[in-house]
């Protein structure tokens, strides 16, 4: 039984369709990626999962059961636009939010201290939120989402606006929760995070699903069409663009980046390069998620 099972949910605002029949399932111990441009329907989908708004049709099941007020306590939410009380002490508001979700004040206090310790900011316990930097507010926001130990976690743009050190810190926390068996619904614009964290993804475009499945499978569906080749001492390679199947050649710091139409052109490139010097790097690159994203969304546009 899947932890989170979304089936053909539809949401309309007036004559505008915000979400048009999205289905996906997420298992325990999995981070599920929800990708899409702004206005693609990510936030509406998440709000429906959270029970903030009801789908017009379709169903959402949590541990096999339909939505109920009780399920709320099992959900954690990190909203895209951060929300905390600016003038209230961190400890006061986190404990308040935890108590509203049925955690005792004492237990909430213990967990809060544990999390602050984990994020290397134990002295924030007594600080007001407005006194903290944006990145540190984010940590508190994250704690607010997980303080009641929910089994389903909805993270909307969890890492936006953070410096690399804090991104790593939060990423580690997210992975830890995944390994502890939580189900995490994760939305972001940053494809490298998705590639690192998610097993399965859904790409939304204009309220519709354009691509869905495991990242590995999705990548296999797209042809490899990028070759990186580099000679010893960055030696020049002449005549690459004359090889059949080559679309374009570009000289980069990492070497020559060659775009190809056919996979067999890659071997021809390698042979060609060898004749001109010692090859120190040759790679037939998988398409990046970024490319796949732009391509699927772009194709839809045409």
């Amino acid at each position: 039984m899947s932890t989170l099972q979304v089936e053909r949910i539809v949401k309309q605002y007036g004559d505008k369709t915000a979400v048009n029949g999205i289905s996906f399932t997420a298992e325990a111990g999995e981070i599920y990626g929800l990708l899409g441009a702004n206005g693609a329907g990510k936030t509406t989908t998440m709000r429906m999962v959270l029970g903030l708004i009801m789908p017009d049709s379709g169903s959402i099941r949590y541990h096999g059961k339909p939505y109920s007020r009780e399920q709320l306590r099992d959900l954690g939410y990190l909203p895209e636009e951060r929300g905390l009380y600016p003038k209230i002490k961190v400890s006061d508001q986190i404990i308040y939010l935890a108590r509203l979700r049925g955690v005792s004040a004492k237990e909430a206090d213990r967990r809060l201290k544990e999390w602050l310790e984990k994020f290397n900011v134990p002295d924030y316990y007594d600080k007001k939120v407005e006194e903290l930097s944006k990145g540190n507010q984010q940590k508190i926001q994250f704690i607010a989402a997980v303080i009641h130990d929910p089994s389903i976690l909805v993270l909307d743009e969890a890492f936006s606006g953070l410096d690399p050190v804090n991104v790593e810190l939060l990423k580690a926390a997210v992975k830890e929760l995944r390994d502890a068996g939580k189900t995490i619904l994760f939305s972001t614009h940053r494809m490298e995070h998705v590639e690192e964290l998610c097993r399965n993804i859904t790409i939304l475009h204009r309220s519709n699903v354009v691509l869905q499945g495991g990242i590995r499978d999705i990548k296999k569906r797209f042809p490899r069409e990028r070759v990186i080749v580099r000679l010893e001492d960055d030696g020049a390679i002449e005549g690459l663009e004359r090889i059949p199947g080559v679309r374009s050649v570009e000289k980069r710091e990492s070497g020559y980046e060659v775009r190809i139409d056919r996979t067999d052109a890659a071997q021809a490139i390698l042979d060609h390069a060898r004749q001109q010097g010692d090859v120190v790097r040759f790679e037939l690159m998988e398409p990046t998620l970024n490319e796949i994203f732009i391509r699927s969304v772009g194709e839809e546009l045409e």
């Binding site: 309309q12 903030l52 709320l72 959900l75 939410y77 009380y85 209230i88 006061d92 509203l100």
Partner: protein, 441 residues
């Protein structure tokens, strides 16, 4: 069955969590502490200034001189009159005759220069009772002058009637001023504070004061705490903490938790005010003042206090739920002032009409308005305090008020449920209805 009662317990727990959170944060705020202290200080100062004005404890009695043998029958009685008082306004000092009127005058002036006396009395023969002249550098206080006048009036009657063979009883009766006592009575068994025995003038004054104070408190309470409710909700919305709150606690619980919390906050402040006033009134010297004014605290009808609380709380809830609804549809605090304007205006109109109606609590417009929910808290309470509405009238107005609170509360909850998730421009009624349908609120 068990899960249902569990849910109730959980909702109540959450309600209590919301109440205590909003109450605690407000109570700790500097603004709250400052206003509470100000309220306590101002009410103390007001009562003590009233005491100073009415009782004038620091003024020494005026010393008034007279020539001993000028009019002994008058001055003897006057000295005895003021001598018999515990705290006389005037002290008399007799001096021996210096020989001639001019010499007497000179001697008196000398004594005034020396600060021995404030002024002196001259008596000129004028029929049966001498003509009295008071000479001083500064005019006498009106209070002292009227005291002297009434003392002389009594002495005059005493002297003139001394030959008329009146009994002691007749004399006393004659000395008493005529008093018109106004007693407000009830012709039917009303719910007002006019009991079967009627209401004396002092009690009427007292009721007037109480009604006045309660109407002001109600108005201030609704305005201040109502605005607070709206501001807090809008702030929660604009800081987006709302998105987390609505996933944590049912909107209805959240809204009523906030409203009840603010109600308790307002009541706390009123309690501080009431306590300060009570302490001030318990002090021996202020009690003396009330005795002087013939105001008896025990003449206060306890039912009037009960009604005051009932109408405060119901009035608060009627306006409070609406303030919450408005707070929920506004996205930015800057827009709030404009959005709550209609509500503030209604409350203000009710307040000023209420103050206006105090002088004529039986006017037909007062009676009519006392049944209109937004006015009932002010007007029905005023009628109970000042006039004598029948019990069914009070109950009817309360039923209408409670029904309206339920209706408005239900509507506000719906608006709240929808409004808290709507950002951007303040929605109109049509957009709100559309959104309500979409959210299945």
């Amino acid at each position: 069955m068990k899960s249902l009662s569990d849910r109730w317990v959980r909702n109540l727990n959450n309600l209590w969590t919301v109440i205590s959170f909003s109450l605690r944060n407000r109570m700790r705020s500097k603004a709250f502490i400052a206003t509470t202290i100000t309220i306590a200080l101002l009410s103390t100062i007001a009562i003590q200034v009233m005491y100073l004005v009415i009782m004038n404890p620091f003024s020494n009695p005026d010393r008034i001189g007279f020539v001993e043998n000028a009019a002994p029958a008058v001055t003897g009685r006057l000295t005895a009159y003021y001598g018999g008082q515990e705290k006389p306004l005037i002290e008399l000092a007799g001096y021996p005759d210096a020989g001639s009127p001019d010499a007497n005058e000179e001697a008196m002036k000398e004594r005034m220069r020396g600060g021995e006396i404030n002024g002196y009395l001259e008596f000129a023969t004028d029929g049966l009772f001498p003509k009295v002249t008071y000479k001083s550098e500064r005019p006498m206080d009106t209070g002292k002058k009227s005291s002297l006048q009434s003392a002389l009036q009594a002495i005059k009657a005493d002297i003139i009637l001394s030959d008329a063979n009146l009994t002691e009883e007749q004399r006393t009766a004659l000395a008493q001023p005529v008093r018109i006592e106004a007693v407000q009575i009830s012709t039917a068994e009303g719910a007002g504070s006019v009991g079967a025995d009627g209401k004396s003038e002092e009690e009427q004054v007292f009721a007037f004061m109480l009604v006045y104070i309660v109407i002001i408190l109600l108005y201030m309470g609704i305005m201040i705490t109502g605005q607070l409710i709206a501001t807090e909700i809008t702030a929660e919305k604009s800081s987006r903490v709302m998105e987390i709150l609505v996933t944590s606690v049912a909107p209805l619980t959240q809204m009523f938790g906030k409203i009840i919390g603010m109600c308790l906050l307002g009541l706390t402040q009123i309690a501080v005010f009431g306590f300060t006033v009570a302490v001030n009134l318990m002090l021996p010297h202020t009690r003396e003042m009330f005795r002087e004014l013939n105001l008896d605290l025990s003449s206060l009808d306890p039912m009037l206090v009960v009604y005051a609380v009932i109408f405060y709380v119901t009035g608060y809830f009627l306006y409070g739920t609406l303030y919450a609804a408005i707070g929920s549809i506004v996205s930015r605090t800057e827009e709030l002032g404009q959005a709550v304007m209609p509500l503030t205006t209604i409350s203000m109109v009710a307040f000023f009409l209420g103050i206006f109606g105090l002088s004529n609590p039986n006017a037909s417009y007062v009676v009519i308005l006392s049944y209109i929910p937004f006015f009932t808290p002010y007007f029905m309470f005023m009628r109970i305090g000042m006039a004598d509405p029948a019990l069914w009238e009070v109950l009817l107005s309360l039923v209408i008020l409670l029904a309206t609170i339920l209706l408005v509360g239900w509507l506000s909850a719906k608006i709240y449920r929808t409004g808290v998730l709507m950002y951007g421009k303040r929605p109109g009624i049509r957009e709100l209805r559309k959104a309500m349908k979409a959210y299945k609120a």
